[in-house]
Symmetry: C2
Subunit: 175 residues, 2 copies
């Protein structure tokens, strides 16, 4: 029998590969933490809550189906149920029944939620620019966007999800 210990070559990552890959992991972690802390400190809002408000604010009638909201912010349905619970308790949004589908529920922004987002959005956008976007030249930004699309296409997250959220023909969601 062949020994299991004569290893296949196992080509490790080259330094540039390593920098590109681990760099993204570290950047994502650092930015998520920093932006969350910033938002928490200035507006008492977690990043996940912010994302909910943001998507709602940009949606028609400031409301979205739970299901769509969950996939937009990359959360499980149960996760969203609880997140919406919290935000509802804070008065930032409310649940609204859906006429067409008795199973369905909308999460809908309240005036308080709209106002909260308006304040938080400036902070968050400034943070994203300062910590991330400003580092790239316009050309790099363009190239980066293209690269992400290619990655997502490969891993199968490309077409379906995008079609689902963009089919309404609304302006792109903001941050």
């Amino acid at each position: 029998m062949a020994t299991t210990s004569d290893s296949p070559p196992l080509r490790l990552l080259t330094p540039p590969e390593l920098r590109a890959w681990r760099g993204m992991l570290r950047v994502h972690a650092a930015l998520a933490k920093a932006l969350d802390a910033q938002l928490e400190a200035t507006h008492g809002l977690q990043l996940s809550s912010y994302e909910v408000l943001m998507y709602l604010a940009d949606a028609e009638y400031e409301r979205m189906r739970m299901c769509d909201l969950a996939s937009s912010i990359l959360l499980s349905r149960s996760g969203l149920t609880r997140l919406v619970d919290r935000l509802q308790r804070e008065g930032l949004l409310e649940r609204v029944a859906c006429d067409d589908d008795a199973r369905g529920a909308f999460a809908k922004l309240t005036p308080a939620g709209r106002e909260k987002l308006r304040a938080a959005r400036a902070t968050h956008l400034a943070g994203v620019r300062a910590m991330f976007l400003d580092v790239f030249s316009p050309e790099e930004l363009e190239a980066l966007g293209g690269a992400w699309d290619r990655v997502l296409e490969r891993s199968g997250f490309g077409c379906c999800k995008i079609a689902r959220t963009q089919v309404a023909g609304e302006p792109d969601h903001q941050t």
Copy 2:
């Protein structure tokens, strides 16, 4: 008094900015999930566990201080304590007392852990290449690495952490 409702311009993100920013968020989420699932399926190993084994394998004597390990894999000290507990229960590593510092503890790879990693590493590396690295040209890869460094420098995660992990002059940690 000035009304709070005459909003400052609040310049939203341009489409390229949006693609570059949200793209990274989605890519990170998609890859983390896909790579974790892949590793779990083929070797019954979570990504966080893999990272621990990987750092240990590349360290001198296949051991690291808990503290250094925690910061390497971007986890809190308490988080690492529990993660190491689990891996120790699975026999993939062991705790070893530290001679120089009676407070300290090393996490040290066991032969089982080394073998586990050897198998998992091929899978993981292949996944990282297929889902991420292969999408970039060598020039893009180089540019990306540089950009990450600039981002990390800005947010203060650059110098200190890197100095801490690279001061030993060992080869760069692998993935």
